[in-house]
């Protein structure tokens, strides 16, 4: 069995300093008096799991339980304080759609910029440009600066660019909650197409219906710790009043 993602004993600590030090003088005084303490905040504690290639993996938990932090660790944005993450294959991170969009540039310019942010080559983007525009259904707005777009329109472009390539691993953080219901259906269809093509999907969602519908395996986080790891049988435990 090959694994797409292996997370071994990952912990993530942040320094939260309690009283805000905003000038150098205070910093020096505190440093001198040895009062410069930071409160340690543990966002993730000793997380270990493996995701098989081609699996659909859901992460559930309340707000602040560490779901997004875990996704950021997997996609390499954050380095874990201890432990290690091994990822096999290319990642398409849909952590926030349209990361790096510049409001003053047009949709066309932003599509190319976003493509290069995700590490695609320019020739590749030129080839796929029409397909991206077609999927986002924004043919009439190609040369309009993105600051005049609605947030739904921006999200459409972001989704279209990020899923234009067939990644080995797709990471989705609450992004399917954007756009109208028709576009949401379209997004879900695209994710299902990717899944049937062998892409591993990691999904974070507060829509428990969506998790139930898409995911095979579920990780339940609580206060940065693993509460449970299993299959769909966790859903009634997580949300007892959930109705199928």
């Amino acid at each position: 069995m090959s694994y797409a993602v292996e997370v071994n004993n990952v912990s993530m600590h942040f320094n939260m300093n309690k009283d805000k030090i905003d000038n150098l003088k205070e910093y020096c005084i505190k440093l001198f008096k040895r009062q410069l303490f930071f409160e340690d905040f543990t966002a993730l504690q000793d997380i270990s799991f493996k995701i098989e290639s081609g699996d659909t993996f859901g992460i559930i938990g309340l707000n602040g339980s560490g779901k997004s932090t875990l996704l950021k660790v997997i996609s390499g944005i954050l380095k874990p304080t201890t432990g290690s993450v091994k990822v096999t294959g290319t990642i398409a991170p849909l952590i926030e759609l349209g990361a790096g969009f510049d409001p003053d540039l047009t949709a066309r310019e932003n599509i190319f910029l976003n493509g290069s942010v995700l590490g695609f080559s320019r020739e590749f983007m030129r080839e796929k440009f029409d397909e991206i525009i077609e999927f986002s259904e924004l043919q009439d707005f190609v040369n309009v600066p993105i600051k005049n777009f609605s947030s739904g329109m921006v999200a459409r472009i972001g989704f279209s660019v990020a899923t234009i390539v067939k990644p080995d691993i797709l990471i989705c953080d609450e992004i399917l909650a954007v756009g109208d219901y028709k576009f949401q259906e379209k997004c879900e269809q695209r994710i299902k197409d990717l899944m049937s093509g062998g892409t591993t999907v990691i999904l974070v969602s507060h829509s428990i219906q969506q998790v139930e519908r898409i995911c095979n395996h579920i990780l339940w986080l609580e206060h940065g710790k693993m509460k449970a790891l299993g299959g769909k049988e966790l859903i009634p435990l997580y949300q007892p009043d959930f109705e199928r």
Binding site: I77, I95, E96, D104, G119
Partner: protein, 258 residues
């Protein structure tokens, strides 16, 4: 090593796109657009030349060209390092959301300054033609000092970017240092009028060598000797090496401070 090279190959489009974006945004809605990259040094030169040929008498031959050479190098380094210094903090919105090799951001700012300075060299050509200064063949070697100053700025930019991420005081400090640096770089005075004790200080200023290098090519028509070449190369690559080391050691912590 090969992994680094592959990553750079993958992300060099991003570098180009970001430079293009900066360029577009800098001249957005201005009527003359990128012509300002040429006009700006020209107008600066007019002001300074007016001041130094009327108020302070200067007997430097071809003063406008002399000044412009110094001004271009100095401005290039300052623009590159200032941009690089704040690049990590300003790109926080990207660094927090996607994995991108972080050195791309300071490198992008020094590359952007490089593009600008190349345009500005048109101003030098214009001034040479107007003042009737004989054009020397060595002018074709101009890319050498520019490249060395670029390496130097990138190294210094990496150091400043790392420091500024942890201490935002850097920006304020650096602007003071910039003013001091301007006077320590022989831009509008010849090094010969400086007292010996201050000369020693200037000899530790890397910019002095880049400026002198450029002037030898443009004004004197000499090929710079071994000594100045070695000094320039040493400064450039020493700063680049220190910058890379500091940046690499700290880059994983940046995200916690932006």
């Amino acid at each position: 090593m090969k992994a680094y090279f592959d990553a750079f190959k993958k992300y060099h489009y991003l570098l180009e796109d970001l430079v293009a974006k900066d360029f577009k945004l800098k001249y957005r809605r201005s009527v003359l657009g990128f012509l300002w990259s040429i006009l700006n040094p020209l107008l600066m030169m007019l002001v300074i030349t007016a001041v130094f040929s009327n108020i302070f008498k200067s007997d430097i031959e071809y003063f406008p060209v002399y000044y412009l050479c110094g001004y271009l190098i100095f401005n290039f380094v300052i623009e590159a390092t200032n941009g690089a210094m704040t690049s990590i903090v300003q790109s926080g919105y990207l660094i927090k959301k996607v994995y991108i090799p972080k050195y791309i951001f300071p490198l992008e700012k020094s590359s952007f300054a490089l593009v600008n300075v190349l345009f500005s060299f048109v101003a030098v050509l214009i001034v040479i033609l107007i003042t009737g200064m004989p054009i020397k063949a060595t002018i074709f070697l101009i890319p050498i000092p520019i490249f060395l100053a670029f390496i130097f700025s990138t190294g210094l930019g990496l150091i400043l970017a790392s420091m500024n991420t942890f201490f935002r005081d850097m920006g304020h400090l650096y602007s003071v240092w910039t003013t001091a640096w301007m006077y320590l770089t022989p831009m509008f005075y010849p090094i010969s009028i400086i007292p010996d004790n201050i000369k020693t200080v200037i000899y530790y200023n890397p910019l002095y060598y880049y400026v002198t290098y450029l002037r030898m090519l443009v004004i004197d028509g000499e090929i710079p000797g071994m000594e100045i070449n070695v000094i320039c190369i040493c400064f450039s690559f020493l700063f680049l090496l220190i910058g890379l080391l500091i940046f690499k050691r700290n880059q994983d912590k940046f995200i916690l401070y932006i």
